[in-house]
Symmetry: D2
Subunit: 128 residues, 4 copies
């Protein structure tokens, strides 16, 4: 499983005085996309399972391009794709749409770390 | 030390499409008031020190009364007072003001817990 | 329609260093419960429709009682009930459960306001 | 005024189950850096003044590189710099430090928009 689709409804508290979703809501949604992608994987493994093993996937880079605003109560479709699975790092790309129109795109790089913040190999189960 | 005053500036992302601070920002500010009250205590002890000892002060009740809206970029004065120090529980009251006008009041009850969520005696150092 | 049930999954960013949902996430969830209750009403009317008419339902009191922690990725059931429909004010009660166990309860009072913050009669359509 | 320094203390609710500031807190801090940079400008003009004139500075791109974690209650220094002032767009760069150690860097592009979301010239007062 290297891609997933998640539906999200924009919350009132995620919107700002411009009446639109604040730009910091988008990386929150991307994180939900990653959680759901993991859940839908054939293994299946949850991020909570990873943390129980003492591993964390820390965000080391984040990029977002905002094209059109999202409004309160909009239903959005988030497409999350794994674009690269390295030894320690995982790259994802995101597309956020409303009724087929692209609102934003994003990219993240995660690093697999232990509880002391030291780089660890991405578990084999995440590579399946 | 049973009372403290903290100044806060309303953040843009704390405001909603009505153009005012969202009601969920207020308990975030109350928590800052408690943190600063602890820091200003004669001991002094920080909440971070408590967590390092395996203790947590968990919120078990919260009440807020909203009287006048707070707006983006407003400078607010938060008055935080300990009103009751029990064996396991601590009660605080809050007054939030702008230029002397009362915007909101609040009350919380915290319980001292260990890492397994079991009630613990409030450390003596917090009683000084 | 005076009651609704909404399912929510606890987001990673809603959790704090204790590993549990931060207490300020609960009133965010209650707001979602109100939004969904309005959407499921026979009329049907959305909160977005109300705002387009220049009306707002502002929270004037909030109470939460926290009984058991909610954890990251938990699926919660939120029961939202209208307990009083006054001329200007609406009262709701909330029950938050996980697998049938009660995690928290809450109560809010909302006031119907115009764009200048003046009290307005709750629209008839909300009373149906 | 093309650069400013802002001090911030990491809030408890900004931290996640890893015990460190969640990655979505950083763009919130960057926004505070921009607000303070504007306030410290010789003019001086506040972002609230801009909004009152019907203008908004919308984030169109965001990039963050996370190098070291920030912890609860840490005092951080945020350096915000305007790197490009175009006709419609403004670019900023950010450095976030703790005790002189670089924790993260960031870049944003803002576009000046009217209330309908149409591009507008950046007001002359922002160029001074």
């Amino acid at each position: 499983m290297t891609a997933s689709i998640t539906n999200l409804r924009v919350r009132y508290n995620e919107c700002d005085p411009m009446g639109i979703a604040h730009h910091t809501a988008y990386p929150v949604w991307f994180e939900i996309g990653r959680t759901e992608l993991l859940r839908q994987s054939p293994s299946p493994i949850t991020y909570r399972d990873l943390e129980a093993k003492g591993l964390a996937l820390a965000v080391v880079t984040l990029e977002v391009r905002y094209k059109r605003p999202a409004k309160y109560d909009d239903v959005l479709e988030l497409r999350t794709t794994i674009t690269e699975m390295g030894h320690v790092k995982i790259k994802h790309e995101y597309e956020l749409l409303r009724d087929g129109a692209l609102l934003a795109t994003g990219r993240t790089t995660l690093a697999c770390l232990d509880r002391q913040g030291r780089p660890q190999a991405v578990p084999a189960i995440l590579r399946s």
